[in-house]
């Protein structure tokens, strides 16, 4: 079971002077249970690709399948299957807090489950659970207006609104854009927790390589609507030239460790690809000790 894209191409405003091809023959398979990051420069087609996975845009050519069901349906029967497949995907847009509209946080999170036709008792359970997932206290926040919250909290409410739908695939467009470092860390932490607890497949778009490096276990680098690189973060980011060609930078941590390695600190190739600051610090300490030991021995 997976998200599969076969030879997907998409053009905005075809047949006008504003015509722009956003995707060119994308072939991609996103395995269930993985955390996949789509990285790329502005205009590389990341968000367009995401909207295809959410079934909001349909390809001009090729097909998008969720668990084997084609999202672009034609017959009535196919439509039902496509709708069911679409509902497995929870889509969180960029600046998701801009979509909040209800008077209370409870009502806003309940919007989705109600649209899916759930009974009111189930809706309440879903809201409760979703708020716990995004670390908002149910009793303290349920009746507050979402517009009185801070930006980071509003983003979490919006995220809860999608989590309440119990998506098997959570798809996020720039989930940390515009958040302060603490808000960013917290949000990434929530995504990681969700993945660990529910096994939800996560697909997210980012042009922040730190985010990608921190949580993804598969990276897809897009450039001009085509896949440039794909693989494990350490392998992908090790290809410095290609990363630069895609208009991206290597993660800070990797750059730091590579620079240290170039300066003569004995770090192995694997060690330059560690993903958390704590691991990096440990690797540096070990390497320096080793080096110190050697110098002393001489």
């Amino acid at each position: 079971m997976a998200i599969e894209l076969q030879d997907v191409s998409f053009t905005y405003l075809p047949g006008t002077p504003y015509e722009r091809q956003a995707l060119r023959g994308i072939n991609l398979k996103i395995q269930e249970g993985s955390i996949t990051a789509l990285a790329g420069h502005t205009g590389s087609g990341k968000s367009t690709l995401l909207q295809h996975i959410g079934g909001l845009l349909h390809p001009d050519r090729g097909q998008v399948c969720i668990d084997g069901a084609d999202l672009a349906a034609h017959t009535k029967q196919e439509k039902r299957a496509a709708l069911a497949a679409c509902r497995k995907v929870g889509l969180v847009f960029q600046y998701a807090e801009h979509q909040l509209f209800e008077e209370s946080i409870y009502e806003d999170i309940a919007f989705g489950p109600r649209n899916f036709g759930l009974a009111e008792t189930d809706v309440e359970a879903r809201v409760r659970e979703a708020m716990a997932r995004v670390h908002l206290d149910y009793d303290a926040y349920r009746d507050r207006s979402p517009f009185q919250l801070s930006g980071g909290q509003m983003r979490r409410v919006a995220l809860a609104g999608v989590l309440a739908l119990h998506p098997a695939y959570l798809v996020l467009d720039e989930p940390t854009a515009g958040l302060d470092p603490r808000g960013r860390r917290e949000l990434l932490q929530m995504i990681r927790e969700l993945h660990a607890a529910e096994g939800t497949t996560i697909v997210f778009v980012s042009h922040n390589m730190e985010d990608v490096f921190a949580i993804a276990d598969e990276v897809v680098v897009l450039r001009q609507g085509m896949i440039l690189l794909q693989g494990a973060p350490a392998d992908v980011f090790a290809q410095g030239e290609q990363i630069a060609a895609a208009g991206l930078r290597q993660p800070e941590l990797m750059r730091l460790l590579s620079a240290l390695r170039a300066a003569g600190v004995p770090l192995s190739a694997e060690e330059t690809a560690v993903r958390t600051p704590a691991e990096a610090a440990q690797a540096i300490v070990c390497a320096l000790k080793e080096k110190g030991g050697r110098t002393h021995a001489q």
Binding site: L56, F93, H98, F111
Partner: protein, 265 residues
Amino acid sequence: MLSNITIGQYFPGNSLLHRLDPRTKIVVLFALIVALFLFDRPADYLVMSLLTLAFMLLSRVPLRTLLGSLKPLWWILLFTFLIHLCSTPGEEFAHLWVFSLTFEGLAHGFFICLRLVLLLLLSSLLTFTTSPLKLTDALEALLSPLKRIGVPAHELAMMMTIALRFVPTLIEETDKIMKAQQARGADFVTGSIVRRLKNVVPILVPLFISVFRRADDLAMAMEARCYHGGEGRTQMKQLHFLPLDYLAWGGTALLLAVLAALWLL
């Protein structure tokens, strides 16, 4: 969904009409519309039709796009034609219920419709070949003599520029909000009218909030750049008349003179 709407109809290009000064285009359009209403003999219509056709070819805008701008007018055209057909006294050629259809009505209806079509085509040619920004610049320039009697020409133009500037942004924003709510199971297409109206709330509320936020940001940004109205303000892109413009002015004047002379004879 909404991404198929072309904004302000501007069709980028570099044709003769695109290069004409926007002030010239507005004045010439105005003169031609006046001519269209003043001179209503078949020969005059022929001249105006040929002229419009020439402009259409000169603009290099695809014929299809141009004729597409007539689409909203079909019903009005049909209605106008029928009214004229049925209500003009003259030589009757058929009788329908209480209406007598006359040859005069047929001709009259045809010419009135032709007039409307030409009117619309000429005006769309202006918006197709002139970017909204140039259009507002030209309006400001043409209105500026009226500043003396208290018409806030600059402010009007600025308001128009801002409004036009935000049309695509808001369309994009609406599109995004609609998609976000759709992703949460909202349905804007099916259901009864009441249900569908209720479903608009999740779009309108975020949209209003976003509009006010943007307005606020814009006001702040303008004040931070010391904007204080049109007094002493210069423009980055000055409008200049080119030889082409004088030719257009001359040509229009000549055409009007000839038509007027023929009319008086």
